[in-house]
């Protein structure tokens, strides 16, 4: 999908940011435009992805799940097997390398579930950069293990107490920090959101997921899949999973939003299903908000999907009916979390479990010669204590 000069996806995207940050994003755009075609940059990045992060990730045929559901053949794109345990490392290695080439010595990042924070802390350790991660105080409690991992990796973790003390507030605080210190600092944004050029940069770095899966499925099955299913918060693993299939009209693209306690309640984070057009965090897109444009305090069991907006490219894919965005509740996600663990011996991140939950509904409605690829964006170790609590069991981490 092409972007014009202001980074628009249809009517979405743009650069709605304070003047203080404008030169920083212009500098970033210029650097990215240069390095994305630089053979040396791409050689270094490929080496990091292959040798350090463990790419390519597997495309695994989930035979037991397929037989159990009795419908379409299910493949899992195993981003959970990457170093640091999620797809976040794909983007972070790209951005950290870019930042280093730009002469930056310090990375800042926001994190929800902690996966992006851990990935950024990891890249910073590897490349010898300073790192500060902003995390909603509520999330530091839900994801205490990841807070410890970030500190172990040498990063500072700053709990954010403003607003709802979750992902959106971590983004706001990281943006505030960036306006305070720009010269030596790169804001390593973790999703396909924020002002241009972030949605494009993050998309390009995550597109490795669909570049691989397309080649893998052609090799295994000799044909393209019928549907791609991925979870959507800001939407980075989903856009990465969709990207190289966007022009293949026969491939359905399905994003699974966190419905929390349901899209008919206020305790939801399903932006496309319940939000409206707005301007926030640097972009025009869909946001959960009230009638006066105040951003809604969203809710999901998943700290990584607990965000009131969605990336502008997803908003556009929704507008043009190229992708479909379906709500998945906490209950459905937790059931799927347990189901995949029992059935395939794979504990998915609670975020990814939203995608698994939809696949469980979808597969039986399709015929046995059809194919679904579900992206397992991360592994679920981090969620075990929270899911146990959800089931009424208190375990020590």
């Amino acid at each position: 999908m092409s972007t014009d000069k202001k980074g628009r996806f249809g009517i979405h995207g743009g650069q709605y940011i304070p003047e203080t940050l404008m030169n920083a994003v212009i500098e970033l755009e210029e650097a990215y435009e240069h390095y994305k075609n630089d053979p040396e940059f791409n050689r270094e990045l490929t080496e990091l992805l292959d040798e350090y992060a463990g790419r390519p990730s597997r495309l695994y045929y989930a035979e037991k799940m397929t037989k159990d559901l009795g419908g379409a053949k299910i493949y899992l794109k195993r981003e959970d097997l990457n170093h640091t345990g999620s797809h976040k490392i794909n983007n972070v290695l790209g951005q950290a390398l870019l930042a280093k080439k730009m002469g930056k010595t310090r990375l800042i990042a926001e994190t929800g579930a902690g996966q992006h924070g851990v990935a950024t802390a990891t890249a910073a350790a590897l490349m010898g950069m300073e790192c500060v991660v902003f995390m909603g105080e509520e999330d530091t409690k839900r994801q205490a293990l990841n807070v410890y991992r970030m500190r172990l990796l040498g990063s500072e973790v700053i709990p954010v107490t403003s607003g709802t003390a979750t992902l959106k507030d971590a983004v706001s605080e990281a943006m505030r920090e960036w306006t305070t210190r720009i010269d030596d600092t790169h804001y390593c944004l973790g999703s396909v959101m924020g002002p241009h050029p972030f949605p494009t940069i993050v998309r390009d770095f995550q597109a490795v997921i669909s570049r691989e899966s397309r080649a893998q499925i052609l090799e295994k099955e000799g044909r393209l899949p019928d549907a791609i299913v991925a979870c959507v918060g800001g939407g980075s693993n989903a856009i990465g999973s969709f990207y190289h299939y966007i022009n293949d009209e026969g491939v359905k693209l399905i994003g699974c939003e966190a419905a929390g306690r349901g899209i008919d309640t206020f305790e939801t984070a399903a932006t496309v299903n319940t939000g409206k057009l707005g301007i926030f965090h640097g972009m025009k897109s869909y946001f959960c908000q009230d009638e006066y444009g105040q951003i809604a305090p969203v809710y999901s069991i998943s700290a990584g999907l607990d965000y009131p907006g969605v990336g502008p490219e997803h908003a556009h894919l929704h507008d043009i009916h190229r992708a479909e965005y379906v709500p998945v509740t906490d209950d459905e996600a937790v059931d799927a979390f347990e189901y995949l663990s029992r059935t395939e011996g794979i504990i998915p991140a609670i975020e990814s479990a939203h995608a698994v939950a939809h696949a469980i509904k979808l597969a039986p409605t399709m015929s046995k010669d059809q194919i679904i690829i579900v992206t397992i964006s991360g592994r679920g170790d981090k969620d075990c204590a929270a899911i146990a609590r959800y089931r009424g069991e208190d375990i020590n981490e």
Binding site: Y16, T20, S162, G163, T180, I279, F287, Y292, G293
Partner: protein
């Protein structure tokens, strides 16, 4: 051209920011009247936003208090309509893009005109995206205020050439809130502004003492103060207006005083 130019006709302008509805609109009204009576030349009325990304903790707190008290854009419009019966000081709204966008840009700006507002400041709208808002503002003769930051450098000329009302010069990096020192080379920024426009420019972010205000006013056309005033509201609540009056007077006096001003208890 709106009334904003009048704000710069009475020596160096003192511009006061007040968040609407903190702690309630009745207090906001009294605070505006006190500020105007004691020398404020322009009032920035903040329409609260749930996630004010350009604000430091003080103004964030005011936004949260006001929203928790049930303030809405419509209530603020009604309030301004009433305020305009006896307050003629130039006033601009300061809020975030989504507040205006969700109300409907045209509907918002048209209402601003009808209730007697003079301008609009959106700190999350830079030059590249301003057209979406400024074209409608031009249509209704509401000044869309542009901001210049210490990082603007080569962008200053471009921004100044299209500026309207007054230019808001952001004194330092970061968010709003008091600072003990401001180290930006503001004089050369102002010089670049002057080369490209005749409209006045005022400096804001981090200013809290009469000394700082005077220093800023000496190199520009005025000083903008927000967090220091909002702090008084945080501290004194409904009793804050009289303290705001005293504070505004000390600032306005300090700015026009050529002798060394007396340090106020910080």
């Amino acid at each position: 051209m709106s009334n904003i130019k009048k704000a710069f006709e009475n020596g160096k302008a003192f511009i006061a920011f007040i968040t609407c509805g903190d702690p309630d609109l009745e207090t906001t009204g009294k605070a505006v009247r006190e500020a105007a009576k004691n020398g404020a030349d322009l009032i920035e009325l903040g329409i609260p936003f749930s996630d004010p990304t350009a604000e430091g903790p003080v103004i964030q707190g005011a936004n949260i208090r006001a929203l928790a008290g049930g303030i809405t854009t419509d209530k603020i419009f009604e309030f301004v309509k009433d305020l305009r019966k006896d307050v003629d000081v130039p006033m601009v709204f300061m809020t975030y893009a989504n507040v205006v966008f969700s109300y409907g840009i045209e509907r918002f700006v048209k209402t601003c005109k009808e209730i007697g507002m003079d301008g609009l400041i959106l700190p999350d709208i830079a030059f590249e995206e301003k057209e979406e808002f400024s074209e409608t503002c031009d249509k209704y003769c509401i000044d869309f205020i542009s901001l210049i930051a210490p990082t603007s450098r080569q962008r200053i000329a471009m921004i100044a050439k299209e500026a309207s009302g007054f230019l808001y010069i952001v004194s330092s990096l970061g968010v709003t809130g008091a600072r003990s020192e401001i180290n930006t080379d503001l004089a050369s920024m102002v010089e670049l502004v002057r080369e490209n426009t005749d409209i006045p420019c005022a400096i804001g972010f981090g200013i809290s003492t009469p000394q700082q205000a005077k220093k800023m006013a000496d190199i520009s056309d005025g000083a903008i103060v927000g967090s220091a005033i909002v702090k008084l509201l945080e501290k004194y609540g409904k009793e804050a207006p009289k303290y705001i009056g005293e504070y505004v007077k000390s600032m306005k006096d300090g700015m026009s005083n050529n002798s060394v001003p007396v340090e106020l208890g910080a």
